[in-house]
Structure formats: structure tokens, C-alpha cells
Symmetry: C2
């Protein structure tokens, strides 16, 4: 056997297997109900519609749908997305601002590749999307979290930190946020905070990354303008995906950015995978153009909205005093604060023993500083599992306290 | 507008748009025949077979074929590839050695990510695959080419260089080769050279990367054992793909490696795109298992073999004295040496004027040191275009000399 340890780059020291993946090994033990995953409910996949569209695409455009495509993406899909972003997200853009990605995870990886390195600092929400941390870490910049409340990122704290960083000579190329139905917290950033965030970014010369995989999954409340629609000087880079509104297995997302920035993503992407799966791009373009996506989203909302309500009701009903949680207006996740001192990592084995899995909150903090929290997914489990699972979780917290 | 120049990482200075892409802009001028591209001929895509398979996959396994998959890849596909690699490539492996990639371009990117950094040196063939250079460059290692002849990489020169590097304190984590029907040269490495390469790698503690996208496209001569089949101590990492035997738009390739190395690719890939398109993975597994791929490869070979013969005949017939070329036994490319002093970059505008495009040879050398060469693709153009195009090319060289 070859000893590869001396051959590996230093950055591999910052790579590790997803914690969720590791924790969820336990969740596949028979009888364990898992609120840990982040999968869409497969009952929402419009299989029949996709069979029809796929046959059409292959028969009508098979030769191009099976060939290499340009790195930017298939034109019909870029057009469809540009229209959608203008209509639904208030963006003033054209096809040329749209670059197709192999899932928005690829956009996160390329973001790190383009902007992070030793001596640079990325700002993220605390807590933030776990796989964004995994994407950024190998590029060897520093990652610092700024806390949130029920109105999203605490921009007053952000502003203070940015001032401090400037004084310390820390260089911040971007601030990464999931402003709408955030993963993991379920929280949505208020309009005031959005405006304040953009002002701060402008003052300090940083980009703002708006990751928006869940924005179309609103179950209550009113839409809030996207950061990109409020962008005055091309400072916001927006990431979208079909993973939560059509199907994640198609691995297709997009970056919306000013042309100069978009071109950087193109060059970085070209060296990474040449182009995104062209068959999927053609299928998705057709799914947008034919109305399949739009006719289908209300069904997803209906199912997930019901499951959110059910989980919130059950939490209300079952949770011990001192435990609190967010009340998301959309998305797939909510966030539970256990009473001070209840370390959810230490509690995890007992939870598995009681037949319930979650993701420990500390995994979502770059500095792992918060111990008494967890993320729950409410979209994947059956209604019965949600009822039973919240009961088991409440029991676990009580026993552990 | 935001000035992003100060926000970009240093590594972006090493990223640039593919030269082929830039050159080929000219090739889309009406009337220009292009031998420049590297696309499979779309007439070889088995559209009908894929329509049938895709419907079957979606109807029978739609919910999992549209869901996120594991980073390692879909089990049925990993099994099918493991069987194929054992049967056709003489490898002693199982499914656990197979990691599915989003095209073998992703494998190149992750290779760079895992093993290159300032202070490390990658050895490549000179000339080598252009997009391998693009993948490696952002990771800021040094890239050094070792020359080839009609028997492939000149391993005696490699050995000398490795000794020199060791004395100079240069650290070489891997040697990257396309041993069979190389892109761009069309050359195949002899068995003696393969054995010598593995000995050298062992002596100097380096990995060997065997990139093999064309291995199944042999039109004449005898198969030579893969490097991976000759590997005694898990030193060889093999990259495969369906791009040239089924369809590139499905963006699916694979890494074959010892488990410890395979796991590094999994962790790196997880942060990069979570998983490869699951729908495509299911389609490809079915295309292998149903025999579609095997029944279809002879048709590709027949078409490409004919086109290779035609181009070789035309070159023999038309080229001016002092011009030489390789005679590939398979693959998609051949390599032309123009007479000393004929700089193919300087000649390019005249070629376009004469209605013919190629890729300039210097682009395939890490140090751009060779000026009198070009790569020709013989698989994409029609027979008429091959006949006419070689004539135009010969005329261009004569005029330029």
C-alpha cells in the first residue's frame, strides 16, 4: 500500500466527511425516526410529467441534449430562468446574467475557489448551511459567523464586526446569507435587515451572496424582496436551484450575477466539470416552459405546509418547558433550542436509543460554540412519524435534563 | 459597478478561458471546416435506446432516480462499472473502489485539490490534455511536461527528471498520463514503457494517474494492459467516463482507486457537488446492464475507424513534404508536425481565411515551447468535410511556408 499522507495537500486537512452523513448512519437503524436529513419528500417529484418531457426532449433534441454543452449552460434554460427571476424575484437581469451550475453546491465551491484564500475572511450566518462550510473550508480562508435572531442576521452586530475587522486588517470578500427560510434555522431576514446588510456591504466593499433554495416554498406570511432585487451596484450574487421545486437528482442550480462576476464563475466552472448535465438542463427548461414546475409547486407547498403545522403543533404539545423553537413561514427546517446545559451532541446517543434522530446544532456554527440546539426537518417524514418522533424527542430531552 | 479585482483570490490569476473555446469562435464562421473540436459525433448517440431506458428508470425507480444520492454514486452503477473494469480492463477491484464523478473533468479538478499546492510538482505528458492543465493550474502547484514519442511518454527522460527533481527538493505527488490513444497526440504507450513508468513511480513514491476516456475505441492493433491492471501497490488512480462510449451530455465518469484514496475523492467531491446527477447514473447503469453500451460501441468504432482511415489517406495524399503526423490505433485525435519554423499559432488566421480550423499545438504544452504542431479531430466532421478540410489545411501550410 502506498502511503498517501505525505502526498496530500495541506488543504485536505480542512476537508472532512459531512457530519450529517456520519450522524445519519445511526438514523438508518431500523425503528429510528429521522428529522435529521435534508431531503425533499420524494412524493413531490412529478414523475409522470418528467417521463413525458424527457421523451419529448430526447426525441426532438436528443443529439444536442446528449452532447457537451457550453459552460454557461443551455440557452433555453438560461432564458427560462432569467424570465422566472424577473417575474418572481424582481431581478433586473437577462440570460447573460445566468450561469447554470451542477447544483448550487457547485456555486458554493466555485465561490470559495474565486474569493477565499489564506488572509481572507468569509462572513456567514451563525448558524449556517453546513455544506457551505464544507465548500469554503478547503480554500483556507477564515470563516466567521454572525449571530441571528427571529429577523435573521443581526446586521448591527455584523456592522460592528466589519469595523473591527477593518481595524484589524481582516479582508472580507463576501458575506454569505440564506435570507429566506434559512437552513438550518427556518428564519427569514426582515426587509429592514436586508437593506441594512446591503448598506454595510457597500460601505465595506464586500459582495453579498444570497443563497435561495427555499424561496418558493412559502406557506404563510408575505414575500419579502430578494437581496438581488434590492441590489444597486451588482454587489449581490444570487444562487438558485431546482432541487426543492422539482427534483434534486437533476443536480441543477444557477448563479445570477453581474456579467463580469458571472464570467469568473464560467472560467472556474469550465476547469471543474466543463458543463452541467445537458440532458437535465433540457428537461428542466421544458419543465419550466411547459408549466410543469408552476403547476406542481402548489402541491409541494400544500404537503410541506401541513407537515410544518403538524410539527409545530406537536412541539407545542409535547416539549418540556425551557425548550423553544422557530416558526418558519416556509422552507424545510426548524430550529430547536434546548434548555441551557442540554448539549445535543451529548444527548444524541440517548435520542437514538429512544428512536429519534436530529442534527446537532453545533455542526452549523463555524466555531461550534453553541451546544444546546438542533435542526429538525419537517418535510421528509410521514405524518405518523412526525407525531411519534416529536414525542420521542420530548421524552429524550426530559430524560437528559 | 463593484470592483471585484481586489476581492478575487490569487489563484484566479491562473484561471483562463479554454484556448480551444476561444479559437473555436472563429470556427463557427460559416464555411469554416473545424478539426478543432473534441466532440464525439452525435450520430453515434443511441437516442432510441436511451428513450426506452429513461422511461423504464423513471417509471420503476423515479423516486430514487430524482432524489439526492450518496456522494460515492448509485450502487447499481458502481457495480456495473466494477464488473466492466474487471472484465475489460483486467482490474482486480470491487464496487468499493469505484467513485462516480460528474464527468472525468471533475476527477481532474479533485485530483488537483487533493494533491497540488505551492511547492508540489505535477508531471504530465508533453503534449497533454488541455483541460487537465486548466484543472490543475488553480491549485498553484508547478506543472512540468515530459516529452513523448510514438511509444508514448519517454520514461527514460522521466526517470532523469525525477532524479533531478529529487536532488532539487521538488516534490512530485503524481504523474498524469493518458496512455491509450492520447489526447492530443493519438499515441499509445507501449507495454514496456507502462512497466517502466510504474517502476519509476514506485522508486520515487509518486502516484500514477491513468486517464482513459478513449480506451474502448480501438480500430486496429492489439489491446495493451491498463496501468491499473499492472498496479501492484495501489499506486495507480484510473479515470473513466461514458462520454466517448455513450454520451457526454450525461456528464458521468468514475475514479478507480484503492479505498483510502477513493475515500479522499469522496470527501472532496461531497463539498463540491454533493453527488453526481442521479437520473443519469440510473440511466447509465441500465445502459450497461441491458447491453445497450456493448451493442453500440462497435458502431462507434466502425464510424470512427473509417474517418481515421480517410483522414490518414488524405494527409498522405495532400500534405507538403516535411509535414508528419501520428497514426493512432484508436481514439479521436491525431497530431500533425508542421515543418520547423511553421508556427501554427501565427498560421491560424490564414487557416481561417482558407476555411479550416485546428487547435494550435503549443496550447497542449505546459510551457508552450512547441510551435510547429497542431491537433486534428477526425471523428466529428463528415467524410466530405474531412476530404475538403485536409486539402485546405495542406494549402494553408504550403502558402505559409
Amino acid at each position: 500500500m502506498v502511503d498517501i499522507s505525505r502526498l496530500l495537500s495541506r488543504r485536505t486537512g480542512r476537508m472532512k466527511a459531512s457530519e450529517i452523513r456520519e450522524l445519519l448512519k445511526y438514523a438508518s437503524v431500523p425503528g429510528v425516526i429521522s428529522f435529521g436529513g435534508g431531503l425533499p419528500n420524494p412524493e413531490t417529484f412529478p414523475v409522470d410529467g418528467l417521463v413525458e418531457i424527457t421523451e419529448k426532449v430526447l426525441r426532438e433534441r436528443g443529439k444536442s441534449a446528449l452532447q457537451y454543452g457550453t459552460t454557461e449552460g443551455v440557452d433555453s434554460l438560461r432564458d427560462a430562468i432569467a424570465r422566472r427571476m424577473r417575474d418572481k424575484k424582481g431581478m433586473d437581469i437577462t440570460k447573460d446574467n445566468v450561469i447554470i451550475m451542477s447544483g448550487s453546491q457547485q456555486a458554493l465551491d466555485l465561490l470559495g475557489k474565486l474569493f477565499l484564500e489564506p488572509g481572507k475572511t468569509a462572513i456567514v450566518e451563525a448558524p449556517t448551511y453546513l455544506a457551505a462550510l464544507s465548500a469554503f473550508r478547503p480554500y483556507e480562508g477564515e470563516i466567521i459567523g454572525v449571530e441571528m435572531d427571529e429577523n435573521g442576521l443581526k446586521t448591527d452586530i455584523l456592522e460592528e464586526k466589519m469595523k473591527k475587522f477593518r481595524n484589524e486588517g481582516k479582508f472580507v470578500p463576501f458575506i454569505y446569507t440564506i435570507p429566506t427560510f434559512q437552513n438550518p434555522s427556518g428564519v427569514t431576514m426582515s426587509l429592514d435587515r436586508r437593506k441594512h446588510l446591503l448598506e454595510i456591504a457597500e460601505d465595506f466593499g464586500a459582495l453579498v451572496i444570497e443563497d435561495d433554495p427555499y424561496g418558493e416554498l412559502r406557506y404563510s406570511g408575505e414575500d419579502i424582496p430578494t437581496l438581488k432585487s434590492l441590489d444597486r451596484d451588482g454587489r449581490v450574487i444570487y444562487f438558485g436551484t431546482v432541487s426543492k421545486i422539482l427534483a434534486p437528482g437533476l443536480r441543477t442550480g444557477w448563479v445570477i450575477a453581474d456579467k463580469e462576476i458571472a464570467w469568473k464563475f464560467v472560467i472556474a466552472k469550465q476547469a471543474t466539470d466543463l458543463c452541467t448535465n445537458t440532458l437535465s438542463q433540457h428537461i428542466i427548461a421544458e419543465a419550466f416552459d411547459s408549466g410543469l414546475v408552476d403547476s406542481h409547486i402548489p402541491e409541494i407547498r400544500k404537503m410541506y405546509s401541513h407537515k410544518r403545522d403538524l410539527m409545530l403543533d406537536m412541539l407545542e404539545d409535547k416539549m418540556p418547558e425551557g425548550t423553544t423553537w422557530t416558526k418558519p413561514e416556509g422552507g424545510m427546517f426548524l430550529w430547536v433550542w434546548t434548555p441551557e446545559g442540554v448539549d445535543t451532541m451529548k444527548m444524541f446517543p440517548k435520542a437514538i436509543e429512544n428512536g429519534i434522530a436530529y442534527v446537532v446544532g453545533e455542526a452549523f456554527y463555524p466555531d461550534r460554540s453553541v451546544k444546546n440546539a438542533m435542526r429538525l426537518n419537517f418535510t421528509y417524514s410521514s405524518d405518523e412519524e412526525i407525531k411519534e418522533g416529536v414525542g420521542r424527542l420530548a421524552k429524550t430531552i426530559r430524560e437528559f435534563m
